[in-house]
Symmetry: C2
Subunit: 360 residues, 2 copies
């Protein structure tokens, strides 16, 4: 039986290779994507669906889109969200039309955030934060779910195309709230194709794959062949600092948010799971288990752009030349630099007042 | 086990008393509603839910609302829809704030009518037709489902408040399309209370009761007591002219639409099920079974306002003094008059260009 990934759960996926096999994903092939970003180069981006049609559009300079959503629930961004923005920025640089939707309906229903409040949070924080993280606002179309009647209409249409059993097969279970969210998300995913039929890629955490599969099933069964099957790109979770779960706001001590005081973050890093040995002597002799070290994971996934620099640290730590204390100190410094840079860019981004919003 | 009424089916309900008992409805009490319209006086309006809060608001001249929806699928109105409009007009006359929503999302999803086309049909035909049938446009607020983000937001919110099993218990079964429609309808039903907390009444065919029950369940379980439980008012079906099913567009020979050529309608009336006896002799001797006569049903439900006039016809036909041919001739004449009047009023109503639309 196929394992069902619950997009609402928080279990860390241990075996990504198994996932690829179980879910019929494709491996991400770096050769097909020129100038891959650090997530792509380092295997954090590990798989996708229908990646060839995107690589082809990029190569032939044909139109395609990249889409993602913002849930304006509070005034922080999950540190892991950074990865999605990095991937969006990558595709933007390579010709994609970017679409960013603000899931204000979802935020209202799931978290009781009024549409007005959701709008305010998106405008005052989330959108500037995405820009600070690399989103090019000039090449991005934004919209609010609640204001996009085409999306709601598509959701309605799609709801009629799926059965309860199909929904259960994809999501594991079905309840009215999940169904409603899912069909509207399918509307979001395909919406850019209403104006121009073109392939599109959705960069998501692997936990969001059910939405991709549902949308692809809906497209497959439409007789009018109106839509391209959406492509997807999956990145591994940013692990929780305790190494056990994916990073989640519900475990604040093991989670880093944006923005967050670097001193507070450094304390969390000090407590994070390390790959170092119990004694210095042993460490010098045997070296670290780098793969288990959450500080190194932060450097790899988030804080060091240059592969050579990362490789140097890897080797020094692996050999035992670099101690856990040194690695943590370095991580704290890099994190402080990153936070500082983010805050500066955020401030700049807040001044931008020309955004391309879909108007109705 | 409680019998489940399927709002999507078309079975004629034989035993309305049983329905009242099975579904825990209240009998409609004419004494509580001053100057009852002909549907109320003649038992076509037969039941409701929470009618007292509406009677009370009327008596105390406190704010309340009446709400109904238009499905802009084609350029005809089902003859039975007339009853709903008559009831809306009744409550309007007695102080209700009327709300008419255009279910363009539903029409798009269920019948493939584009939002633009749905809007055009509503503006060019359905709204003027409602006005021609007695709706007072000055006292009516209109909106398009697709443009009312508060309704969509409420639908989202409500979807999270119900379980699949509750939905199945009310509707008999559950599929994503039904669920989506139902929660948005619950949003429609409660929407007028967002601006002002007040009771409201929804006049519907009994087949629509599941939507009422679902909405009442949703209200009951909200902790904030934000909404009054919606009241409802049920009218009997206008039977199909063959006496077997409720009148439905899918059986055009047994269905009357608005507008329709009176000559065509008269031919349908000629073929309609009658209560007359097989021979004239027998008819004169035993009289007609008026209750089975679909022409008389048209007179009673739709074409004769004056109770005394109707009573005279009833007695003449019942006694055998009036023949089936005479009754049908009279029905054809009344129908032609009605159609003529409707067409004139429709023409007038199309000239109205000030309608109170909710703007966002």
């Amino acid at each position: 039986m196929t394992k069902i990934i619950d997009p609402y759960g928080s279990a860390l996926v241990e075996d990504y290779e198994k996932l690829i096999k179980d879910f019929g994903l494709e491996h991400f092939n770096l050769k097909e994507f020129p100038d891959g970003n650090k997530l792509m180069r380092r295997g954090v981006v590990f798989a996708g669906r229908d990646l060839k049609q995107i690589a082809k559009a990029m190569k032939e300079k044909k139109p395609f889109y990249v889409l993602s959503g913002i849930m304006p629930t509070n005034d922080k961004i999950h540190f892991g969200t950074k990865q999605v923005v990095e991937n969006i920025a990558y595709f933007q640089k390579h010709g994609a039309n970017a679409y960013i939707l603000i899931a204000d309906l979802e935020a209202a229903a799931a978290r009781g955030v009024s549409l007005e409040e959701g709008k305010k949070r998106a405008m005052d924080f989330h959108i500037p934060a995405y820009i600070a993280l690399g989103l090019d606002p000039k090449k991005t179309t934004f919209y609010f779910q609640s204001e996009n009647k085409d999306v709601v209409r598509l959701g309605f249409e799609f709801a009629r195309k799926i059965t309860l059993n199909e929904f259960k097969a994809i999501y594991g279970d079905a309840d009215p709230g999940k169904i409603m969210s899912a069909v509207i998300q399918a509307g979001d995913i395909l919406y850019p194709q209403l104006k121009e039929r073109m392939p599109g890629i959705i960069p998501v955490g692997i936990d969001q794959d059910p939405h991709i599969r549902l949308t692809r099933d809906i497209v497959r069964r439409s007789k009018d062949k109106k839509f391209f099957l959406p492509s997807s790109l999956y990145h591994k979770y940013t692990p929780s600092l305790d190494g056990k779960l994916k990073m989640s706001k519900s475990h604040p001590q093991s989670c880093i948010e944006l923005p967050e005081d670097p001193k507070v973050v450094c304390k969390k890093i000090q407590r994070a799971v390390s790959g170092g040995k119990a004694t210095l002597e042993e460490h010098r002799k045997l070296g670290a288990e780098v793969e288990k070290d959450m500080s190194f994971e932060l450097l790899k996934q988030h804080l060091i752009e240059d592969d050579k620099e990362l490789d140097k640290i890897y080797k020094a730590y692996k050999s035992g030349k670099m101690t856990t204390g040194e690695l943590k100190k370095l991580t704290c410094e890099k994190m402080a630099e990153f936070m500082d840079d983010f805050n500066k860019k955020l401030k700049q981004a807040k001044k931008i007042n020309k955004l391309n919003f879909v108007k109705f």
